[in-house]
Symmetry: C2
Subunit: 247 residues, 2 copies
């Protein structure tokens, strides 16, 4: 086995998420990558992704690995070769040979997600695919205070989509930050793992705080409640981006 | 007549330009605006645009005017009313009542266009619709020097698409600038008028200078030649944006 790690950026607008959905006929990023690698390698290639982004969710730093045994192309030429075949909305930004034991998903130590809001009364035609439109003014300071309550090791069950099943809902958040860049507001989260829809629900909850509908301190009770119904709404997918995976 | 001026931003990706193309069945921004105004006014409304952007070209500050006589909506509510009906890629950013003699096209004193390059070996999935991919390194200083030769009143015939017919090809350029913002390079032009494809050909020519294939001073001879064939290639539409119209 010759284990190759790829860093992949994609505009998720036209995809039904990252992961292959056998038999559905829906285009996924994984399928597009495997099709491209298959053409280059002359045989079927399977990739393993670090995270399963949902339909419409983007990535700047998704990571995949695959077995490139017997493959003629030098690793450093893989991005150029793949980008020449891939559609414009999927780009390989880096390729590197890694150890046998590297696994894009299980070796990941932390992930960074960013949720972006277009915070203006007038929507933007250029940011509509990469942010959520939010015309109501926001109290950034209150949202920052609320973020501090999210930091650390907690049971994040209240931020998990109802119906999701997972062994434990305890996760550690290393970073939770609100960054304003003019009319854009970025919610940046770094954690050792994320529950299903966790970033989109945390952002929806922080926006409630930003509008004054909940206090920053209410986050503490919310976490303790472990009740999805107590948290804010799930924000739409197009504002979400998987920024980076740390190994 | 009640003359209303609208400022309109649009993502031109999915449109066959600004101007209505009767009988072609192709969607244009003008048709979308007129359809929307027609629904609000309950009668056919015709708009006049400041500039005819081509298929795939964007606008941040396109300007149109129309006759709103007998229309019940207060002018300041027009953006919200229209944006509620318009598709997400066309946005009305401002509405203002103007004098009878205001004409979006003929009253325009200057226009600002911006052409954007994604200057990196690796393309960007998020900027692909709003910039041109240009992997070759560029000499910004040389391009800036070339820009200086474009400033002022000149016969810009060499930068006009061959086959275009217009009374005079003399125009005045008030601003010609190269602005680098990380991997993005913006070419900004302000002029009293622009010939067909002028910005796209000027940018293509400046890029030749940036790659060292022509000297900054060569622009002088080029202008004098009045030969389209002596200028650089026409850059693709998606990097171009009509930024602002001055009255």
């Amino acid at each position: 086995m010759r284990n190759v790690k790829l860093t992949v950026a994609y505009d998720g607008t036209n995809y039904h998420g990252f992961q292959e959905q056998r038999g559905t006929g829906l285009a996924t990023v994984q399928e597009v990558l495997e099709l491209c690698l298959g053409r280059l390698a002359g045989r079927r290639v399977q990739v393993t992704g670090a995270g399963r982004t949902d339909a419409g969710v983007h990535a700047l730093g998704q990571v995949v690995n695959f077995d490139a045994a017997g493959w003629p192309i030098p690793v450093e030429r893989i991005p150029l070769a793949m980008n020449g075949l891939l559609p414009g909305d999927v780009v390989v930004t880096e390729a590197r040979e890694v150890g046998q034991d590297f696994h894009a998903r299980f070796s990941a130590r932390a992930k960074i997600y960013r949720y972006t809001i277009w915070n203006n009364r007038i929507p933007s035609p250029f940011n509509r695919l990469y942010s959520s439109f939010w015309p109501v003014p926001l109290n950034d300071e209150a949202m920052s205070q609320a973020c501090d309550h999210l930091l650390g090791r907690h049971d994040f069950k209240c931020f998990q989509a109802s119906g999701a099943t997972v062994k434990t809902t305890v996760r550690t958040l290393y970073r939770a930050e609100v960054i304003r860049e003019g009319t854009l507001v970025h919610f940046v989260f770094k954690g050792d793992g994320f529950l299903y829809n966790m970033v989109r629900i945390m952002t929806g909850t922080l926006l409630q705080v930003g509008m004054g509908k909940a206090s920053p301190d209410s986050i503490r009770n919310l976490l303790e409640s472990r009740q999805r119904a107590q948290a804010g709404p799930t924000m739409p997918p197009q504002g979400l981006c998987l920024e980076h995976v740390e190994y």
